[in-house]
Amino acid sequence: MTPEDLERAAGDSAVGGVSAYFDHAATSWPKPTGVVDAVVRALTVGGGSPGRAAHRLGLEASREIYAARTACAAFLGARRSKDIIFTRGCTESCNLMLKGLLRAGDRVVVSSMEHNSVARPLAVLARLGVEVVRVAAHENGTMDPASIEAALSAPTRAVVCQHVSNVTGTIQPIAEITRIAHNAGAVVLVDGAQAAGHLDVDLSQLGVDAYAVSGHKGMLGPQGIGLLYLNPELEVDGLLEGGTGGGSETVEMPSSRPDRYEPGTPNTPGILGLGAAVAFLGGEGAAQRDQEQLLTQHLHEGILDIGGYRVSGPAPGSPRGPVVSVVPDSGTPPELAAWLDREHGIACRAGLHCAPWAHETMGTRDTGTCRFGLGYGLTETHVDMLLDALRVYRS
């Protein structure tokens, strides 16, 4: 897809004239052509049931899923592709790693910046007897590894921390937190929803025990697909039981990955779309990530130049994911978001972004923020369009 195609796609929304799409932190749009083609192919040419029959349609679907899983593992730096578990999305991945591991009597240390995909499962687990210790982040959203270390004074089963904040774009020091947690005998579970596809995630370097990924945000795949990386040494219980296409003579689930965690017919169109997205990200899409960083910095600095907006998160120039969240001095974030959509066709999101803990940390619990999530397809023209609109709103 050429830059001209992207400009046209971003300006010709089928739902009515979106000029600039700044809601990539919720879901990426548009998708690369290869992703669309892969989904269509799965629904037309190659629609067999994977992992079951050995006829050519079934085998082809199985082989395509195998190839997609292998590509995802390579892209994320996982040594074994069978440690990549496909799920319905990052929320299911987080539920699997948390509910599959933690039991009554366990103690878990968690950052105060977590999304509800972590906070809500932990609330359920707390009612079942898991001790949940929330550690406050700095007001710019950064978790201080020393704070985590201090919280590990008692025996702890797991440390849970996001990689990138969906509210502020703050990048957490995961490798350092992992080192500290492992020294204390705790495993590390990471919500990578806002990192994968945006940052260069190398699981072999991070050393984490579980890493949850959204398929449809920075990874550029379709909605309804995600994955969970599980360290080969980490044993967790599955969330579901059912048919896996093999070992049908027993009522017990297979012990081997990935079947152990993937009962039922898989989301073949979603998985193949994600595989195509990974191929794109590893090729021509690599330049997109560099562009995202530049555009994010341009937007952040531009908003500060305009004035009249409080920007959450790291200072300009500091590493951050492609998210800029603001609170306007006049009006409210929902009013600003609605005005941008109505008057300028600019799509963004206002509110708490399913992360009330993070807003408590940032001091924006009562107002929420207006969030601009950058990603594939956006250009400097789009960012300047947004800055012009923010200038008008303030005047």
Partner: protein, 81 residues
């Protein structure tokens, strides 16, 4: 239509489709004539996908799979078309 004669083969069974397809990729990369088939009952499982190879390639296939950390969970000799 001429009815084909059955010939001897070796089949390998795996615990997951993922492992079976990984094995297929390894054996194909070595130019072995591997064919995925519905797992025959003789493997002890009544569904799933098994990998069928000519008997003369069985030894080399076993070595290749072991080198790739893909040891089959079952092995059998069958006659097939």
């Amino acid at each position: 239509m001429t009815r084909r004669q059955k010939r001897p083969f070796v089949v390998f069974g795996f615990e997951t489709t993922h492992d079976a397809l990984a094995a297929e990729a390894v054996l194909k990369a070595a130019d072995l004539r591997v064919v995925p088939i519905p797992a025959p009952p003789v493997l002890g499982a009544l569904c799933g996908i098994a990998m069928r190879i000519p008997p003369e390639s069985a030894g080399r296939a076993r070595d290749l799979l072991a080198a790739a950390d893909l040891d089959p969970v079952t092995r059998a000799e069958i006659e097939d078309f």
